[in-house]
């Protein structure tokens, strides 16, 4: 049974592509045959994050239009087995994504390619690309930064997920949506400069999948074109690993959410 997961947020720049790359890689590392699809038609970027930008021949719109079949278009990852990338096209045609076309791509990934997971990297906004990425999803990961505009947009996105998916339209109710809080800084939370995990959870009222700390490792990973989850020594890499484990049903305590405790001296006189 193939599971379709949308990684979404509403707001741009919060870490959807970083998360899609990490989640897909994490699932593939655990042996699940996984494809990650870039739905950001016109602004392709997942290929760079996955480090396969020079191997792109065909893209999502080529498959939809029948210029290539799914096998030709999928890029097999060089570092991780079971991992495939389907890049976005660079066309500026807004109507390139059709519901029937996207459904056909999913059918091919399910029936011809026998995928276990399909991760849909949604574009920012609530336009067609974002709606198409979410429409067929069985599950959603909502990526949010602890910052007012991101939280508000995520809430709006959660509302859209509740009404604009096939699940919802068929009267099967909401798809499960879980929160991934990224760029988190426990130090700033402690100083009262940043919304805490608890604050964001209280407002959005969805289950917490994970907290990824603000980390230099994320930029290093995108510089190198290697998903940050492969950087197993880094805090962000470990946080994503934990999130993947939770995604698959493991119960793990959340890490990287508190400041390392200081000694008595630090607590008395520290800033």
């Amino acid at each position: 049974m193939t599971k379709i997961v949308v990684v979404t947020s509403g707001k741009g720049g919060v870490g959807k592509t970083t998360t899609s790359a990490a989640l897909a890689t994490g699932l593939a590392l655990r042996g699940f045959k996984t494809t990650v699809i870039d739905f950001d038609v016109g602004l392709r970027n997942l290929d760079l994050i996955m480090g396969c930008e020079r191997r792109v021949v065909y893209d999502l719109v080529n498959v939809i239009n029948g210029d290539a079949n799914i096998k030709q278009a999928l890029i097999k990852d060089k570092k991780v087995d079971n991992l495939f990338i389907l890049p976005a096209s660079q066309t500026r045609d807004k109507d390139a994504l059709t519901q029937e076309g996207v459904e056909g791509v999913f059918r091919a990934l399910r029936e011809d390619m026998q995928m276990d997971y399909i991760i849909c990297d949604s574009p920012a906004g609530i336009e067609k690309g974002a709606l198409m990425a979410a429409y067929f999803a069985d599950e959603a990961v909502v990526v949010t930064n602890p910052e007012v505009s991101s939280v508000r947009d995520s809430d709006r996105m959660i509302g859209i997920l509740a009404s604009k998916t096939r699940h919802a339209e068929e009267g099967k109710g909401d798809i499960p949506a879980r929160l991934l809080l990224t760029r988190y800084s426990p130090e700033r939370v402690e100083k009262g400069e940043m919304l805490s995990v608890e604050d964001v959870q209280e407002i959005l009222a969805i289950e917490l999948l994970g907290v990824v700390p603000e980390s230099q490792a994320v930029l290093n990973a995108s510089n190198a074109g290697s998903p940050v989850i492969l950087d197993t020594d880094s805090d962000a890499g470990q946080a994503y690993s934990d999130a993947v484990a939770r995604f698959l049903g493991d119960q793990l305590p959340h890490r990287f959410t508190t400041v390392n405790k200081k000694g008595l001296f630090g607590r008395l006189f520290g800033g």
Partner: protein, 83 residues
Amino acid sequence: MSIFSYLLPKKQTSASVAKERLQIIVARERSTRGGPDYLPQLQEELLQVVRKYVPVDQDAVNIQLDRESGCEILELNITLPEG
């Protein structure tokens, strides 16, 4: 947190301001979510009709659409000024 911060009067942090603002705006946006797109305009026009007879405030009209077991209920609340 140092020992001195316990002695000073509590100042509201920027994070708590953010949380309060978010709670208010999110609650307001949720109340109109899922409703048809014509609701804001309906509210505006209703307000104009009421104003022809009674001077009322901008937020005197409260309009809400609920779904209950197969039927939709359009709830309309107009607060008229006293006297």
